[in-house]
Point group: C2
Chain length 325, copies 2
């Protein structure tokens, strides 16, 4: 595409990410975007950075990367029960390559369209590859699914299955050996790592039902511990209840699957707590979820059981290098 400057190329691809919304009064192309907030709701805001070599491997597929960059931020909106509205993109690129830009923009645009979220502004700079996306959504503040709302006696739930993305990463890093007859399973696990599905609908459906929620980015234990800390409660966890996909169960032992389910991150499922009396309302929700334990009165204490027997676990989630939690 000679004749088009780098700037025009970037503009060309990002103009395609145009989810039309009537509340965007001024979009990309001025000093600021101008948007109109829904006057009956509050605004939920979250920002996430993905750095090459830290959050994704060098030479990651650009379309998956475009998807994942937005997915991890949408997952934060899901975790608080907000409805996506607008986002900005700060993209740092070592060089402008058209195939990369085309793929990245496609992955981003496809997911943005699904969630009716509009790209309203950004900044593109030169430097080591890094992607920062900030999302804005709407939520009524009294309905927000906060980390500090868990109560003693709440059931603890996890959506979908956990540990898949962790196994996908191990496969990519050759820490799990690929097996001839497990190609379908392995493709599923890698897909779970590369193209996570933010549970936006589930987050919205949980408003008024769940007492607390968080999305699983750093691993179930690490993320649930944030709920325990903020709510000043503890948790009893039943290991046999941990929801594991058939792909993961086919690929590793049950014990290994549990380790991944507890400590590996990047699944972007929701972990949430709800009182037993909300059981009937919960059953109406279409997304899948599994009860994995109950909230107890021992602040910050997580106790694990297998078949009613208390179990000592030696694993540990990694320390969260973030000012968010």
């Amino acid at each position: 595409m000679s004749g088009l400057s780098e700037f025009s190329l970037i503009k060309h691809y990002f103009e395609k990410i145009s989810t039309p919304r009537s509340d965007v009064l001024l979009g990309i192309g001025d000093d600021c975007a101008i948007v109109q907030a829904d006057t009956n709701q509050q605004i939920a805001i979250s920002v996430d950075t993905l750095v090459e070599g830290v959050h994704f491997l060098p030479n990651a597929d650009p379309e998956n990367l475009g998807h994942k960059s937005l997915a991890v931020s949408l997952s934060d909106l899901a975790a608080i029960g907000a409805t996506p509205a607008w986002f900005t993109l700060a993209l740092t690129l070592p060089e402008v390559k058209e195939p990369w830009l085309a793929g990245f923009a496609k992955g981003l645009a496809t997911l943005a369209k699904q969630h009716q979220i509009a790209l309203i502004g950004g900044d593109t700079t030169r430097g080591p590859l890094s992607i920062t996306i900030q999302v804005n959504g709407f939520v009524k503040s009294e309905q927000a699914l906060r980390r500090d709302g868990a109560h003693v006696g709440d059931n603890i739930y996890v959506s979908g299955t956990v540990g898949d993305a962790g196994a996908g990463l191990k496969l990519k890093q050759n820490q799990l050996l690929a097996q001839q007859d497990k190609q379908l399973q392995e493709a599923f696990l890698q897909q779970r790592l590369d193209k996570p599905t933010p549970k936006v609908d589930l987050g919205r459906d949980l408003r008024g039902i769940a007492n607390s929620a968080i999305d699983i980015s750093d691993g179930l234990v690490a993320d649930l511990s944030h709920i325990l800390e903020k709510s000043q409660v503890g948790a009893d966890i039943e290991l046999e209840a941990l929801p594991v996909s058939s792909a993961l169960a086919d690929t590793v032992s049950r014990e290994h699957a549990e380790q991944l389910a507890l400590y590996a991150g990047d699944d972007y499922e929701l972990c949430f707590t709800a009182p037993p009396e909300k059981h009937a309302e919960l059953r109406k929700i279409k997304d899948s979820y599994t009860k994995i334990g109950t909230i107890t009165g021992n602040p910050n204490k997580m106790v694990f059981y297998r078949g009613g027997q208390q179990i000592e676990l030696t694993g540990k989630g990694y320390e969260h290098f973030s000012i968010e939690d």
Copy 2:
């Protein structure tokens, strides 16, 4: 500060950046922040990334860097006439060093407090040093100072003085030789580069007066050309009118000063246009500004004059590597 983990250290310093605001319903520490928009106004949003080695020199003073990271984004709010409200910080650090964090947080906090803007969330990741700040402010959309509002016959103004930061950068890079008897002047020029003052009050005062505005980040010619393009107009510029600081005038020739004023960036002054009939209202504004030309009917055409004589200029602003243009 052994005994404090990296995470606690980061938390410790960023919790200090706490401008209290009643419209922040949930701040740092959950999946999202929750804020309440002013229902009578719209929200202006802008994001900027500063990358080490591209936007600032390696080993830049962390306090200045904290100031500048927020200043460049506040300058975008100034350019559109918005009142600052909230910001997020996405910080990528190669390592966690306490003196650096302390200095950076101090520079950021001091400027944030001046403008009553609250840090509501962020993400800290490991990687090559890079800072992305997104600011949110309030503006009534019909009063926003947009790039597309310039009219034929408008006067063109520049606030403060231009070219200072460009000279400051040349001094830092030893492209301008430091002179024994010019230490005060040189300190001023470097300060203009390292700690720019966003013209937030001026932007607000220009609402209802200016037809268009932009902040000068890439140089007067490059930034004014965005107004010309968006407004489909041209500009006659009087070189002798370019406002140059006495420090700059003392340091380089008039011709060199004009080159810096036209093509060097990073001054973060405002360039704006207003119709002649707004002269009396303009005079009430307390910030300094200078008329440098008039808007003409020749789309995208910038013509330079010195003492009534048309001048051919050979310089050119650099291409803006940004989707914001």
